[in-house]
Each structure stands twice: as structure tokens, then as C-alpha cells.
Amino acid sequence: MLTIERLTRRFGDFVAVDSVDLEIPTGQMVGVIGRSGAGKSTLLRMIDRLVEPSEGRIVYESREITALKGASLRHWRRDCAMVFQQFALVDRLDVLTNVMMGRLDHMPEWRSLLKLWTADDKAIALSALELFDIANLAANRAGSLSGGQQQRVAIARALVQEPRVILADEPIASLDPRNTKVVMDALLRVNRDFGITVLTNLHSIDLAKRYCDRLIGMKAGKIVFDGAPRGLTDAVVTDLYGLEAADVIEIPAAGDPTPDEIRAAWDAERAREPV
């Protein structure tokens, strides 16, 4: 159980996350939605302590996360993996070494700095890579891979940490539709096969509804929706996204103009000849 109490983060006068209370039971797949700037990323980064909270606390199974320092903070980061929008891989290192980064807090430091991976660690890394069908790329440089492959490497790195929680910050925002499905399937698999709690920020309401057990809607740093995906009505989406609602979900209405009409109106307004 991950418990968040009155968690707040200010950047100067701007309140990014405003007194958020949240309880996430183990094994849930949770999607965090809301327009950009709603505080989704800051919330996730605070849970991994990449951003320091201004107020409030985070507790994971009686461990006070907000009070951790030094080695115990590193242990928490091992238990709580992070997947980034821009992958955050080391481009110049090969895939296997990148995945091995997930084992860093499992081995003595001298061993990792000399790259003396044990056979067991290699087996764990390879089994994670096999899980996502990219074991054949183990010797390739991470920078030479496609976006979808890189994000799968990043999820493999998260998985070999043997974490209890995986945080994914817009994991599919820089991917094409096919890779979006591959990566979301990978996250779902991590959640279903290993019982790891997954907390992910998503732009697409459609995907969030399809993949998540529970959705959390954020607006101006506050939680305004928390419930099962079927509870997310068009009215709630409109409240969450305001004028952008039409961009994130298809709400066809009878009176809506067709694309042809839109273009005609555009041209007429500017009295422009069709080119």
C-alpha cells in the first residue's frame, strides 16, 4: 500500500501539486490523467524523490519515504522504478549494460564500477529482455535502437530492479501507435505477471481507459477524479481538459461541422482562392 498525505510541491509562487491525498493498494494499475501542467509529472517524480516535496508525506508499507536519506533512499529508488518519456538510457552503452543499471543497488559498488556482472545478474537481465522480445539486441548500442525498442529496454531496466512499484512518466508520448501498443502491453504484463504496482501518466484517455484498473484525474495540482475507468464520463473529461477535451476524446455531436465545411468556412473567412 502506497499512501500519500497532503503532498504539496511549490515552484516559487506556482503550486504544481496541491495537498494531494491518495491510497494505492499493491498490484493496481493506475493511470494519472489531466492536461499538461496539471502536476502529474511532479506527483510521480516526488514519489521517486527526484523532486523534493514542499509539504506532506509519502508512506510505503510503514516506510516513511519522505524522510529517507543516503543508502535508504537508494534502496527505495530500487524498489520504486521509473520509466521516462525520453527513455533516459545511456545512448553510448550497449543494451545489456543499460539493463544492468537496474541491478546497481543489488550488488557491491566495486563490482558494478568494474562491470564485473555475475552470471545470475546477466541471466536476470536477459530474461527481462526476452520477455519483451529484444534479447537479440543485447550487444547493440542503446542509441542505435528505435524509440519503441528503447522504451522496452527502459522497462526491462525497471523490471530487473525487482521493484514493488513502477512509475511511468508519459511512457508513450514519443512513440508511434504500433509501439504505443507494444509498450503499454509491456507495462500491463509487468503489472499482471509480477504483481508490481504501476502508476503511469498518460495523455490519451482512450489508452488510460483500456489499460488501467483505476484512473486519477488531476487539475491544477488537485485530484478531481478518482475511480474505475467506467466512471470517467464525458462530463468529467470536459471538466478535466476544458477546451482541449475535444482533442483527447472523440465526442461527435450532431451539429458538428464536417471537415469539408470547416475548410470551406476557413477559406471563406479569408476570402482566399483555393490553391
Partner: protein
Amino acid sequence: MSVLVQMSGGPDGPMSTTRKVRSALGPWARENRRELEKRHPAVFAGSPTNRAITVAVVLGLFGLLVFALWRLDFSFARIGAGIGQLAHFLTLMVPPSSGTWARFWLFLHSLGETVAISLLGTFTAAVLAFPFGFLAAKNVMTQRVLHFFTRRGLDTIRGVDTLIWALIWINVVGLGPFAGILAIMSSDFGSFGKLFSEAVEAVDGKPVEGVASTGGSQLARIRFGILPQVLPVFAGQVLYYFESNTRSATIIGIVGAGGIGMYLTEAIRTLEWQQVSLLVLMILVTVAVIDQISSRIRFAVIGERRIET
């Protein structure tokens, strides 16, 4: 091996589904290690040979060091004996003093001259080397012959040390700070050309492609695609050389090309140890001040970029 996971739903009440999930990744992978080794022999076998090579190279280098020390008559005994002498000199150096106030003002004036020599020499060299940094970079200069001659030309200039340049310029323009400026300018021109070109070769190609895609000319690509990327690196290098040259300008002074070095040699030659320590302290303070100023300038150019911990 498997784990039970308690599942629960949204805030409208727990769905209370207890699901059986596959075990954690670690134990499963350890159990299946044999098969993984069979499927990916290269990953498991590849490293011992590499490791042996690494160990051999490190041992070889260490052996070379030991051989070189032996061949060059390195002796701890002689260092030990000399240390006593050094301690004696140190006692002669305190307190640092210039003797008379008039001499102190003379020192201060020549220190200013040293800083001026270094400043003018370094920045002239940077301005002159700026275009050559691009000409000597492989990713900008596709014309092979010109690239080759630019690089070898810079090598040649760099191959002559600042001190030799000082002796050459003294013969051309006579004794004094002007020769010092020319000496620093000449040798640093070669160094900057090389350092700048290497910074240019390491830039990210994507922004350059972006500028090219808009129909930008070769010069526009350099101006907007490459320059913003390399400017912070250039600034750091130039400022470091300014600081380093303030130190080496003292050496230039020794051969008569102006600055504080002249007084330093004179004091050492006449065994005025209190003056020596004062001069060294003055140089140290100047270098520290330059370092402070240059790090301010560097961060202003780079912009505040912090690595989050």
C-alpha cells in the same frame, strides 16, 4: 514459486480479487540460467576474454611505469635528502616581504602587466583561431586537402612551445610585454584551433539537419546549428587558458618578455626568499580571483543547469 497479490478496485470499494501472479523475476531467472546461457552464449562467454585483455593492459602499463622509473634513476633516497633542504628554504621564506614599499608597487605593476599580457594574448589567439576551429573540423570541412593542411598547420604552430615563441618574438620586436603577448598568441592559436575543432566535431547533428532542412546555407548551418552548441565549450576553454597563461606568463617574464617573471627570477637568483614567497602569493591570489570571475562568466554562458540528485 508464485506470489499472492491482493487486488482492490477504486474508491467505491475493494473488488477483493486475490490473484496468483508469476514469481519475481530474479528467482525465475536464476532457476533458468542454464537455458539462458545456452540461448545467449555470447553474452555469458564474451566477457572473460575482454576482462583478461583489460587486466593484461593494466599490468603492462604498470610494468612500463616501473621500468621507466628504474631507467630514469628515480630514487626515493635523493628525494628524502632534498626534502630537508626544501624545509630550510621554507623557513627562510617567512614572513613574505618586499623589503621596501617602492618595490612592492613595482611588483604590483608588473603583476598587472602579466595579467594584461595573458588577457590580450589569449583573446587575440581565440579570435584568430575561431574560424580555423571550423576549418579543421571534419564534419564542417568536407574538402579533404584543405582540412589536412589546416590541421597540420595548427600542429606545427602548437609544436613550438610558448617559451620558444617568446625568444623568437623578442628578436623580432625587442624585449618587453609586446613580445609576451605575441608569444602567447602564437602558441595558443595552435592549441585553440585543435580544441575548438574537436568541440565542433562532437556536436549533435540533428539541429544542423534542422537548419539545413529550411534551406539554410552552410554558413547559416554553422551559425545557428553548431555555434550555440559549442559556444559554452569555447568559453570554458578560453577562460581556462587565460588563467593558465597568467601562470605561464611569469615564465615568459623570465626570458625578458615582460611581467612579474623577471622579478621572480631575479629574487631567486639573489636568494631573496622573502620576496620570492611574496611574489608567489601574489600570483596565487590573482589566479584564484581569475578563477572566480571565469566560473561566473562560464555559468552565465551555459545557463543554470543542475543535475538533480
